[in-house]
Amino acid sequence: MDSAQRHREYWRKNLRMTGLLLLLWFAVSYGVSFYARELNEMTFLGFPLGFYMGAQGSLLVYVFIVWFYARYMNRLDREYGMSDGEDD
């Protein structure tokens, strides 16, 4: 695989993952809030579910997204020889 092709593939994979995670971000932010009244009919850990998502659930998903993206990209860097840091 030549260098240009390698770069293209790396960037395509990055864009795909960025898009997927952005979709998840959109769903837990705007989707969940839009239907907050309906979700509040359900209970989770003693909370109405809509309230729980706004106060905790969505936040935990955000930190998961950011963590997962860093892990995925740092591995992709190594796989495609793009890594700029020490591998520890």
Binding site: H7, S33, F34, F44, F47, G54, A70, G85
Partner: protein, 679 residues
Amino acid sequence: MSAYQVFRAQLKRYYLTYTVGFLVFILVLALLEHQGLGPRWIGYAFLLFTILIYATIGIMSRTSDVSEYYVAGRRVPALFNGMATGADWMSAASFIGMAGTLYLTGYQGLAFIMGWTGGFVLVALFLAPYLRKFGQFTIPDFLAVRYGGNAARLVGGAAAILASFVYVVAQIYGVGLITSRFVNLQFEIGVFVGLAGILVCSFLGGMRAVTWTQVAQYVILIIAYVVPVTLLSYQLTRVPIPQLVYGEMLQEVGKLEDRLFETPAEQQARALYRQRADTYYEKIVRLPQSLADERQRLTVRINELKAEDAPMRDVAALEKQRRELPPTPEAARERWDAAMRTAAGKGSVPIHHAEAFPGRNEAESSAARLNFLSLMFCLMVGTAALPHILMRYYTTPTVKEARQSVTWSLFFILLLYLTAPAYAVFAKYEVYATLINTPIAHLPSWVAAWGKVGLVAIEDINGDGLLQLAELSLNPDVIVLATPEIAGLPYVVSGLVAAGGLAAALSTADGLLLTITSSLSHDFYYKIVRPQASTQWRLVISKSLLLVVAVLAATVAAQRPATILYMVAWAFSLAAAALFPALVMGIFWKRANKAGAVSGMVVGLLITLYYMVRVHFDSVPWLGLQGIGMEPWFGIQSTAAGIWGVPAGFLTIVVVSLLTPPPAQQVQDFVEQVRYPRS
């Protein structure tokens, strides 16, 4: 082990020692309080001790190296950059105001919680790694190199300064509030004492000093935030993890709401407030006659009293009332309008804490939902565009650590943001369960203590001697500040909370001031006015500007601008609309060119400003503008003005770029280079 690994291990050891030292300091003070040390001295001890620590770090980190001054030498490990970003990010508003806002608005306040954390997803996915790869000094640097020429640098720099300055005024205001309340300084003096605290951190060492003090400030602010509510949670539920157990308390609050809202005394109190609102309404309609009547009525009454030799005190009280009448019909309209709104608010049924988008009908409810979603959008995009946050990702050693450091940032921010809603629910439970329907004469002492500084107000409008919910006014700041007293904890915990609030305000103010002066000295002076300036001279300019901007911000803050809460939200909308589209398109769309970016930034900024000004103000006296107010579009409030500016910015960049020639090959190569960590 490499030198960097040694450095990292050393840092961990230093900050661990420091944290333990701080905990020991708290314990010693607690013991001294037990021995009879007064609250005033505890307040002084906290103030002195923490500022001394910041000053020591600031002086130890002094530097005259450009890279150290602007980006802390680019060797801040991910974990520590995360903590510094956390302190940089969490302002006086997050620390003191957030829990109170949630107390007052229930579910609606969660727009801030989600908005101010969800924005970091955008930082991680769209900006942090690419900006680190670019690796210069400021955010306008990126715009200038990507789009070529000084136009993009100028517009970007101006937007960065505008948003940061609005925000820094709010921080210095917060510092003044805390110092004046806890060590009894006059507010204006408090502002300038706080200013000294800010300068001592950033003046000598720039970003390097700011980074290492921010880490120290994070430790203090998070301990101060979590300790009181953990103890309160333990008292109420026997579980010391408030974030886990407040669901149960929320159910209890729900039951109390059902019971309290519809008691006859409560309905009577609300009806009386509605009557008061109606009275104000009539007075406003009958202006200017009603104002003259009012003055006439007081004069007649004063003369009557004087004629019948009434006590001087009563006469003086009425004369004071007459003196304090609004001087002009315009002032009267403004004041009575505010009073009418307050009374009408108290006269309506309070919200249920967990209810999403309350409204009397479907249309009102939909409008509430639309505003919730738009505000959240502006706060998220604004987070990903505020330069003082983005700049922090220039300081990590590698792209890899920049990505990890966003995770750490968000983690450290969540520790506070997951706790804030718990604060609100615990405080609400305490108020509903123990305060309401209690004889006013027997209220707990914290009510009177905070009443003295004007954060709690009580009015027995129906004269039954009991406290109804409608009769209690709480300032949002009081929730966090008074929780230690609500839980009956020793004063040392209150001192700790004050130190935490101070750390939150100082750290954010530091980051913002540095952003402003970097933009002025690096982008405007060095890159545009005098490119041949020596590095020594550049730092001299930067440090003098820091002083000037700081004093300017403190002067504005000392005026106590009335719209301070709005100003914070506006800063986010402005940054979002002006900077986010140009930054993201610069990385993800090679075809975006200079004409597109510059016009996109200008259009985004102008539309946002236009909407804010016309929706919020009816006149701007110092510009001679009258009657410029307009109806909001789709009922969206001025705080979410970025909802129009951001899409307009993106659209303008696309359209104008496509209508003009593509950028040069060299620019396209630059985009390629930013996209790959090693190339």
